[in-house]
Amino acid sequence: MSATRRDLLLMTAAGAGVGMVFTPVPWKLLDDVSIWTQNWSWLPKHPRGEITITHTVCPLCPAGCGMKVRRVNEAPFAVSSTPGGALCARGFAGHQLPFHQSRLRTALHRGKAAPLAEALEDAAAAVERARRSGAVVAVLDQRPGRMVSVLYRQFLAGFPRAQYVTLPAPEEGTLRAVAELTGRPPRSLGYDFERSRTIFSVGAPLLDHWGAPGRLLRLWGAPERKIRFWHAASGNSRTAALSDRWMAIRPDSEHALVRGLISILIREHGAGAGLALPASLSAFPPEEAAARTGVPLAQIQELARELATARPAVAVGGGDPVAGPLPAATEQALSVLNALLGALGTPGGIVERRPVPQPTLPPGLPAETTLARAPARSIDVLIVDSASSGCAWPLELIQDKLAPDAVTIHLSAFRTAWTAQATWTLPVPAPFEAWEEIPETPGSRLASWSLAKPLFPMPEGAISPEAVLHRFGLPEDQTLDALLQAKAAAIEKAGRGVVRPLAEPDESSPVGEGLWDQLTEGAVWVDDPEPAPRPLRAAIPDLPDLPQVASTAQFPLLATPAGSRGGAGSMPSPPLASKLTRESHLEPAAGEVRVHPRTAESLGLKHRGRAVLATPKGETAVVVRTDPGMADGFVEVAIEGDRGAETLALFPVSRDGAWRWSPAQLRRA
């Protein structure tokens, strides 16, 4: 037998084939290639350096929750709540906001990049022209009550015609109605929830980022708690899920429910015996309330019985950070309901909040007006402050107040739907890049004051609101620092309250000298509680009836905006909020609507299917999510992210500034 060249080649090939299977080389190569292609040099590495801890408060919304910040090389990398605090989900990622992709690095002129010096020059010239011509100059402030708010009013005092306009926090809605009923100034009242036994919320997300989130969650989660939470709303929200009782009322029937409760309380429980009550209050038939709300009469009677017997009881309206305020007539009815419950100026109800000691201010500062009450087409030059309340507002609310050819100057750290429409946008420091002041949380019964520390240096190209005001003509000797220090001195002089270090809130000390240093180092000033609340006297007015929004043949559904505080508005959400929205659907995600599976089926729509949402004001493309927790015939429209303002524009704004409901149509795309 002889081996041929053919045999040799065959043996080599076969040997190579067998060898390939047993050698580790190709497998190792595959392994290495898979690893090499995953480890690129440009992937970010984590920072190295000394780790330090800072205590401060969160500046993202008016709640001002305490934060313990871990920092590396002075840059924050993680935050957690201070003892006893309760940061919200967005607060945990808020320190990443200065790097948001919509962060402004330059000024804008009608939405297009412009050099800051040029934009500032042109905007200052427009303000100066308004001053000379006697045009109306206004400042829109979403967080009134700060010292920078005083600075704005000092600036406006230099104009012959000026308006200081605010967008009240949703927590303040019922309190404002009660303040009007009792003749108190706005923002002078608060809820004494800690001593309540029954809390009845009407469309207010009490257990979802309402006021200071930790306050109500502590009460709700207290072991063996005695407070009962009742919630009346159409949407299956977190508050609905967590309340002891949820009354799933029909859309826009809050007014009828409150009128029905008032009637039952007067008729069956003798409420308001010592008050002069208009006859119409008890004339409202409870059956009408049951018919309009879709809730059995027995359940409304049960609620009325509990409100009448499990006292102190308090009714809370005000509205929602996204769905907006309740109609003014409903707030008025809620204030009457509180009066009948004996909740005005009594422990566990709505009580007066002592005003914070203030420095002496010059006379002639313009008074505060809410945006809804500002005359239509009255503002010639509008300056919009950068601080956000975390709430979404339709642009229409502002546009209606602007005169034709009005100039708008937006102070903003981010590119938003608002800045796209502004004449000039001036880039200001983002949250955590400058000192920010946090006055008392809306709805709180005690005054408080704290300062949020900057965790990053202010970037080049940004300008502080104070510097903008000085460029616009505010005298140089009027500064924010002087106002803040004067306020600290006024509190020291009054000798009221305690100072709570954020690191050790239990180690509070009475106010003494050095308050300013304590605040800047990380502490909160909290006022002393009143020993006994002062009763608030109210003249009970007649209540107008309020027609409900109705569906039509063309728009057979009822739609409402849905979302969470901080999800849309004048400031974007931290990038990691995507975990809450599109990655988990814990909160409504941009471009989505939620409907009951039956509603979807009747319209030929599928879960995750594409559709068009139409209202009398326009239409938009959406993705449908079915949710058995929704009411049939009802659409929740997500207001979130960049598309939030565009979607919110589909909801009509009523004369009193409410945009909660719209008839709607949903069809397959």
Partner: protein, 261 residues
């Protein structure tokens, strides 16, 4: 020759079984645990295509509804730290999953992971996620990354490791103080710290005197899919029977789709 000095052998570290009890009656579904977890573990927000299937959530809160009712519960799902026949460990061809015998923590080693995703298929809790994209943050945001946790590369699977970097940091601190063992509460994962209602109690299940052991032993406590016999170290508790039934039936049917990867 002089006798060599004998190096004293340190006493062995205490055997631990880290676990947690999540009180579903106290969970408000706020998502603070999810965000705090992502920040702590340098999880990026992902591109716009990152959705409930492809986004990285080491901890995810599901919303569940009672059948034929509008009653709602929120259920945080994370790696259950299975202690017996750990499914993901069993199927991993790369030995990238390992149960730490000292702590009971199921460790994931991204350096070893080939991205075959067998472990994802094997995990009955769908508590693992795959990195579909290179980890990326907007310019400058990398300065805010946690220095204790390395970002994971594209193409690997990851999951909750009970904030292992926090355990290391706590052990380092204890060692610096001359202690071998950690004090209760010295090491807690970020989600536990973040919960505004203290719905999550964390600790050593091997320590019978610990709060977590006491709660885990109570009759209203249960484990998800207990019938599979994987020995999870994450317990849940609720007084709501319909929620307990969900876990018992095993067909826990969150109203959202749970398939990822």
């Amino acid at each position: 020759m002089a006798a060599q000095a004998k190096i004293p052998t340190p006493p062995p570290q205490k055997q631990r079984r880290y676990g947690m009890v999540i009180d579903l009656d106290r969970c408000t579904g706020c998502g603070a645990c999810m965000t705090a977890c992502a920040v702590e573990n340098n999880v990026p927000s992902g591109p716009p295509e990152a959705d409930e299937r492809k986004g990285i959530n080491l901890m995810r809160v599901f919303t569940v509804r009672e059948r034929n009712s509008r009653r709602t519960a929120f259920i945080p799902i994370l790696c259950m730290q299975c202690g017996d026949r750990t499914p993901c460990e069993t199927v991993c061809p790369q030995q990238a999953v390992e149960v730490d015998p000292l702590t009971g923590i199921v460790e994931q080693m991204p350096q070893r992971c080939l991205g075959c995703r067998y472990c994802m298929a094997a995990c009955p809790y769908q508590a693992r996620t795959f990195n579909w994209w290179d980890p990326a943050w907007p310019a400058g945001m990398e300065t805010t990354l946690n220095p204790g946790v390395a970002p994971r590369m594209r193409g690997v699977v990851e999951k909750c490791d009970l904030c292992h970097s926090r355990l290391h940091a706590a052990e380092d601190r204890a060692a610096a103080e001359g202690r071998r063992d950690l004090n209760p509460g010295e090491y807690v994962p970020a989600c536990v710290e973040a919960c505004p209602t203290q719905a999550i109690v964390f600790g050593d299940l091997a320590d019978k005197a610990s709060e977590v052991s006491r709660l885990a032993a109570q009759p209203e406590s249960f484990r998800w899919l207990e019938r599979l016999g994987t020995g999870p170290k994450v317990y849940y508790r609720t007084r709501r029977r319909w929620v307990r039934d969900l876990a018992r039936q095993g067909g826990a049917a969150p109203n959202q789709e749970v398939t990822r990867g």
